[in-house]
């Protein structure tokens, strides 16, 4: 009787500790570890002391094409990695789904697209994507040097597939990074991301 009671109690309490899959702006960004396209393993904590950008990517998605075709994202990647920001492109496409490539294929593809990110992390199981609640490609997250998430959401305020919309749009990532690098608080911490759905494993 007592054993049963204790077991019920333990079961009940363990249920209360549910894993939530949404990250909160203003809270520490969750730790993760992924291999990049060259096979090197990276942990988020490896980059503590530097601001980090997470960019969910799928080059087959017209919204990502919008930001790469005229060099918008590569331009931002180059500009900010040059200022000490770590830029991580993450691919959570499952094997067999659009956007999935092996490490070698990624290296070639990245060169073609002119990508200037620090590393391209491969997440075919989708664990990190689901951990962060990544819904679309692109879906952007900005983490400050102390490891706190300061922005999550869309890359800019014009949800469309037309690259002509880029010059007139307000770029949330650029704004957040400029504020982080200047030591100011980030004004827009959260927006609705736009893009194609991340092609998670079923």
């Amino acid at each position: 009787m007592i054993k049963k009671t204790v077991l019920t109690l333990v079961a009940a309490l363990s249920m209360a500790v549910a894993v939530r899959a949404e990250v909160v702006t203003g809270q520490p960004a969750p730790e993760f570890e992924l291999k990049d396209s060259t096979g090197t393993s990276h942990k988020l904590s490896d980059f503590k002391g530097k601001p980090v950008v997470l960019e969910w990517v799928n080059h087959g998605c017209p919204f990502v094409v919008k930001h790469y075709s005229k060099g918008n994202l590569p331009g931002l990647q180059k500009e900010y990695t040059g200022q000490g920001v770590v830029w991580l492109s993450i691919c959570s496409s499952a094997e067999g789904k659009q956007g999935y490539y092996t490490g070698e294929e990624w290296q070639k593809l990245n060169a073609e697209k002119g990508g200037q990110a620090t590393a391209i992390l491969l997440d075919p199981e989708g664990t990190v994507g689901k951990l962060y609640g990544a819904k679309t490609t692109p879906h952007m997250f900005v983490i400050n040097a102390e490891g706190t998430l300061v922005y999550q959401g869309a890359i800019d305020d014009k949800p469309s597939t037309d690259s002509d919309d880029i010059p007139g749009a307000k770029n949330y990532v650029k704004a957040a990074l400029d504020e982080v690098l200047a030591g100011k608080p980030v004004t827009t911490g959260q927006t609705k991301p736009y893009g194609c759905g991340v092609k998670y494993a079923p």
């Binding site: 009787m1 109690l9 009940a12 249920m15 209360a16 087959g60 017209p62 689901k130 927006t191 079923p202």
Partner: protein
């Protein structure tokens, strides 16, 4: 001569509406008009018709988690005005773990065009640039510039090519109706829509989903909980983490199956409400509006705990337990207070376990307390049967817990403090089934509090339960004031059956609303008979004085009867049926779709038999789906004039009447025999081309 022919052809051309469909990869776009012409100054309807290849979809105005809504940009001649796009309700397009909102196969995006009154030309060319995102596994942006030439005509008539499509689209548009009154309540995590049915509301609605217009209001992938308390319904929607602090307006579309209104096909309701209540974390989700102060709440819990002792499950043994406690203390020479303390400890432990389980369930996201899973027909049915069985138990149809008492009795009979401890533990266990309806509000209050306060409330309840024992075992003289056990206990136990049956009845009414099938009442009442039978079998054949073999047989039969009762009550046929109307039949026939009309009534036994045996047969349902047959039910239960007229058209004045309309609108329907078998129906369906 040739010139004359040319002129003739040109004249003929200008008298018809002309448009060319434009394909962009997997979607074909076309600009179509509802009528064959227009009158200057008189608004008319057009639509951007998008036809998606199989497995491809386009998006609604709010695309959901991913995607992009279709846009239409008009290029109209001087003086022409185009209204906004009027969207039919979308479908959910899941792509685990995301959900988007959009359309598959075909969609008509309606727009009202207002021509200037002074239009002098004899026709107009309307141009639109449609841009969309088409996706299946992958996404591709698409666009098309589509044009429509529409002549001026004195009396515009409906364009037959598109009549069915426009009619079907209009049916899918959100409608404002008085049949349902709506209130919204917002808490940090949820939006709750409460709907109260009024005149004209459908009897039962299911598969309800709210599509918001804003894309940052709700969690699109989360399930929306639909529940009822017997008279009103509630939909609990999880908010998005992006949702602004306190939304003041909730706008969107509420979709249900099959319809919100009785007798009409209206699957979508327009929602445009101002939030009426904002719930703070303290009063929590569906907590019956209780805003009791903490002290009052704890007091209620204490009193509730005391009342637990009066429950027929517990009271008869109350005095016996106290006497036992007193004897124990005399025998072991330990103070009666210590025994009372051990007893209280047992009660408190069981209360805490109950609280921990309920809090853990709350923590994992469900609505707990006595509203827990009230949206699940199976759960509500379980509660109905539970209280029915408790009622039958009170009447004495069967006894239960004797085995438990023996097992528990062993523990209870243990000498010393341990015995008293287990006695306390078992008091709560025995009292729990009876506690429900009487302690509902108090427990609801407790569970609406933060975890710490909830535990405190349950502790208060535990103390209340143990209090009489503690009091009476230290002052055994007071036992004399307690009524002596006697025949009155049996009478009181039987009397308590009635509140149990009332509770069962209440849950039954909720089950009927949730289940929604049109024969659910008959099914439920049959199930009641089966449950009663199972109780009788249990009582008669598992009694202790029977041989072991008989007892086992009794248990097996009981379980079988209960299982049949549950299955029978929960059964819902897969047959999709729409309400019948002459107009609907016309519409479907014009579209070349076969229709099966079932003239029936609830009081017509042969109709019900036919339905159950033939129409709801698995193979028949499959064949109906395969042949694309729409089933319309003409319900003559109230002997209304419309259905009577429908019957009279075929020279009938009685039900049943089964009509099978083929794809050829010029052919009369086949009249099926009044006694149906699955074979008969299948053969008839095979005869359709």
């Amino acid at each position: 001569m040739i010139r004359r022919i040319f002129i003739l052809l040109a004249v003929l051309f200008t008298l018809t509406a002309r448009a060319e469909p434009v394909r962009d990869k997997y979607v074909t776009a076309e600009l179509i008009a509802e009528h064959t012409g227009f009158q200057p100054g008189q608004p008319f309807w057009v639509a951007v018709k998008l036809t998606m290849d199989p497995h491809w979809h386009t998006y609604w105005r709010n695309a959901g988690d991913s995607g992009l809504g279709t846009t239409v940009d008009w290029e109209l001649p001087e003086g022409f005005q185009a209204g906004p796009v009027v969207w039919p309700h979308p479908e959910r397009i899941p792509s685990d773990p995301l959900v988007s909102y959009g359309y598959e196969n075909e969609v008509l995006l309606l727009t009202e065009i207002t021509p200037p009154p002074g239009w002098s030309g004899d026709q107009v060319t309307l141009k639109a640039k449609a841009a969309w995102l088409m996706c299946n596994d992958v996404c591709i942006p698409g666009h098309a510039t589509i044009a429509l030439e529409l002549p001026v005509t004195a009396a515009p008539i409906a364009d037959e090519r598109w009549a069915a499509a426009f009619a079907a689209t209009r049916q899918a548009l959100p409608v404002t109706s008085d049949a349902w009154s709506l209130a919204t309540r917002v808490s940090p995590e949820f939006i709750e829509l409460s709907l109260t049915p009024r005149d004209g509301a459908a009897r039962a609605v299911s598969e309800v989903y709210f599509f918001p217009y804003r894309d940052d209001l709700i969690d699109h992938a989360a399930a929306q909980e639909w529940s009822t308390n017997g008279s009103a319904f509630a939909l609990r929607i999880k908010r998005s983490t992006l949702s602004p602090g306190t939304p003041e307006q909730i706008n969107g579309v509420l979709v249900s199956s099959p319809s919100w209104l009785a007798g009409k096909s209206v699957p979508a309701l327009a929602v445009e409400t101002t939030v009426s209540t904002v719930a703070t974390p303290a009063n929590g989700p569906v907590a019956g509006g209780s805003s009791l102060t903490l002290l009052t709440g704890l007091l209620l819990m204490f009193v509730g705990g005391m009342i637990l002792n009066l429950m027929p499950c517990v009271f008869p043994v109350l005095s016996l337990k106290i006497v036992n406690l007193v004897e124990q203390s005399r025998e072991t020479h330990e103070s009666a207070l210590k025994h009372a303390g051990a007893f209280t400890g047992g009660v408190l432990l069981s209360m805490w376990v109950l609280a921990a389980v309920l809090l853990a369930l709350r923590g994992s996201g469900s609505t707990v307390g006595w509203a827990f899973q009230m949206s699940s027909p199976a759960f509500v049915l379980g509660l109905t049967f539970l209280f029915l069985l408790i009622g039958l138990n009170m009447f004495g149809v069967f006894e239960i817990g004797i085995g438990l008492t023996r097992a528990g009795g062993g523990l209870q009979e243990k000498k010393g403090l341990t015995g008293s401890f287990f006695s306390g533990l078992l008091t709560t266990v025995a009292g729990a089934p009876c506690a429900g309806p009487f302690l509902g509000t108090a427990i609801g209050f407790a569970l609406a509090q933060p975890a710490g306060l909830a535990l405190l409330a349950f502790t208060a309840m535990g103390l209340g339960t143990a209090a009489p024992y503690a009091l009476l075992s230290t002052r055994p003289q007071l036992l004399k004031a307690l009524p002596r056990p006697g025949a009155w206990m049996e009478t009181m136990k039987q009397f308590m059956a009635f509140p149990m049956l009332v509770t069962a009845g209440w849950f039954a009414s909720i089950f009927v609303k949730l289940h929604g099938g049109d024969d659910v009442t008959f099914r439920l009442l049959t199930a009641f008979v089966l449950v009663g039978a199972s109780a009788w079998v249990f009582g008669k054949w598992t009694a202790l004085h029977r041989a072991a073999g008989v007892r086992w047989a009794g248990r097996i039969v009981t379980v079988l009867l209960l299982a049949v009762a549950v299955r029978y009550a929960l059964h819902k046929s897969d047959l999709r049926v729409e309400p019948w109307s002459k107009a609907r039949v016309e519409q479907l026939r014009q579209a070349g779709q076969p229709v099966l009309v079932d003239f029936t009534a609830e009081w017509c036994a042969i109709c019900q038999v036919n339905k159950r045996v033939a129409l709801e047969h698995r193979d028949v349902i499959a064949k109906l789906k395969e042949k694309g047959v729409t089933v319309l039910m003409a319900d003559w239960t109230d002997q209304n004039a419309d259905v009577a007229a429908g019957l009279a058209e075929f020279g009938r004045a009685a039900v049943p009447l089964y009509l099978l309309y083929g794809r050829d609108a010029s052919q009369p329907p086949e009249i099926l025999p009044q006694a149906l078998t699955p074979g008969l129906v299948l053969e008839a369906l095979d005869r359709l081309q």
